[in-house]
Amino acid sequence: MHELAITESVVEGVAERFSNSRVTRVVLEIGDLSGVVPDAIRFCFDVCAQGTPLQGATLEIVSVPARARCSACQREIVIEDGIGLCPCGSADLAFLSGRELKIKAVEVA
């Protein structure tokens, strides 16, 4: 479960910057193609935040849909099944979004 390592990176990254504050909210941006399961991050967050400036903080996760442009017909499509196949039959896609894995914002008390 790489979400534990990912959550540790989030907590570590935020705690480093805000070591003297109390963090009350963390907003993450997670793309549908990032390979990260938001629920698993939520599961790990409270445990990872224990004993850090993030303890007790609310976690908010913003999902980013996966969008791609088909190299064959130039159509822009939204990928919902994680595979990605243009209605024209081509799988040759340039991904426009969906791989995001970001700490978007934090709120400090």
Binding site: M1, A5, R17, A91, A105, E107, V108
Partner: protein, 256 residues
């Protein structure tokens, strides 16, 4: 004010829908907001791993080391493929190996049995290698200039896909015993890789594995995959695989 990140930055004029100013949103930056105490970060969660991976990549380039990240489910035959690859490359290239497993030194011992250098990383409960672990292993391994380095990741088709190690090509190995729908079931891995190896061809007569369908599924997920089909035990396809590896080493290594 920047419409994406909310920063009020200098005098750069910005039209509606236009987002031109001299900071890059992929780079973390902090600025306090006048309203509330929300601080916008836009920080890549894997930034630290990414920095360490870039450091590994630069180190490989400076020593002309071609590094390959081998990933698969457990039991696809990664270590056997490496043993036979090392035997076949004897006298043609220096090879060293970083072995990743949750426990035991067994794989590193198998590789050392072929005469190649190897270090073992035991991740404990960890399910993947990261760039920091590889950097530590490199210090212990000290691979020679101009050599080939294989990083055998923890057997897992999920997590290793996400972590850049600073390698050159990422290689996914699937064996014919695994079923032809693996690429559809684990699309992140097959999408993240540059090369696909189908292994254990010698077992085909005993299975109902539809190769054509397997490659059709793989290309559906990633049409850019370079494909090799081989049997490490019998030797089919090994020469083609080794030639490709050798092309990656030396002065033109970066060109792929």
């Amino acid at each position: 004010m920047c419409a994406t990140c909310g920063c009020s930055e200098g005098a750069t004029p910005s039209m509606a829908g236009d987002h031109a100013h001299d900071h890059d949103h992929s780079v973390a930056h902090v600025h306090a907001q006048p309203l509330g105490r929300t601080i916008l970060l836009e920080q890549d969660i894997l930034a630290k791993n990414g920095r360490l991976a870039e450091r590994n990549r630069a180190w490989f380039a400076s020593r002309r080391i071609a590094a390959f990240n081998l990933m698969s489910s457990p039991g696809s035959g990664k270590t056997t493929l490496l043993e036979r690859t090392i035997e076949r490359l004897r006298g043609r290239a220096a090879v060293s190996v970083i072995e990743g497993d949750q426990e035991t030194l067994r794989d590193a011992e198998r590789i050392r049995g072929t005469g190649a250098r190897a270090v073992q990383i035991n991740t404990g409960s960890g399910c993947h290698l990261d760039a920091g672990m590889v950097a530590d292993a490199l210090r212990a391994l000290d691979p020679p200039r101009g050599s080939l380095l294989f990083i055998e990741n923890v057997g897992n088709l999920v997590c290793p896909a996400l972590f850049d190690l600073g390698e050159g090509p990422k290689v996914v190995i699937a064996s014919v015993t695994e079923g032809e729908d693996k690429p559809l079931k684990y699309p992140h891995m097959f999408r993240a890789c540059d090369v696909l190896v189908l292994s254990k061809l010698d077992l085909l007569p005993h299975l109902q594995f539809d190769r054509e369908r397997f490659f059709e599924y793989a290309r559906k997920v990633n049409p850019r995959l370079r494909v090799f089909q081989l049997s490490a035990l019998r030797g089919d396809g090994l020469e083609e695989w080794c030639s490709w590896l050798l092309e990656r080493s030396g002065p033109r290594a970066e060109a792929r």
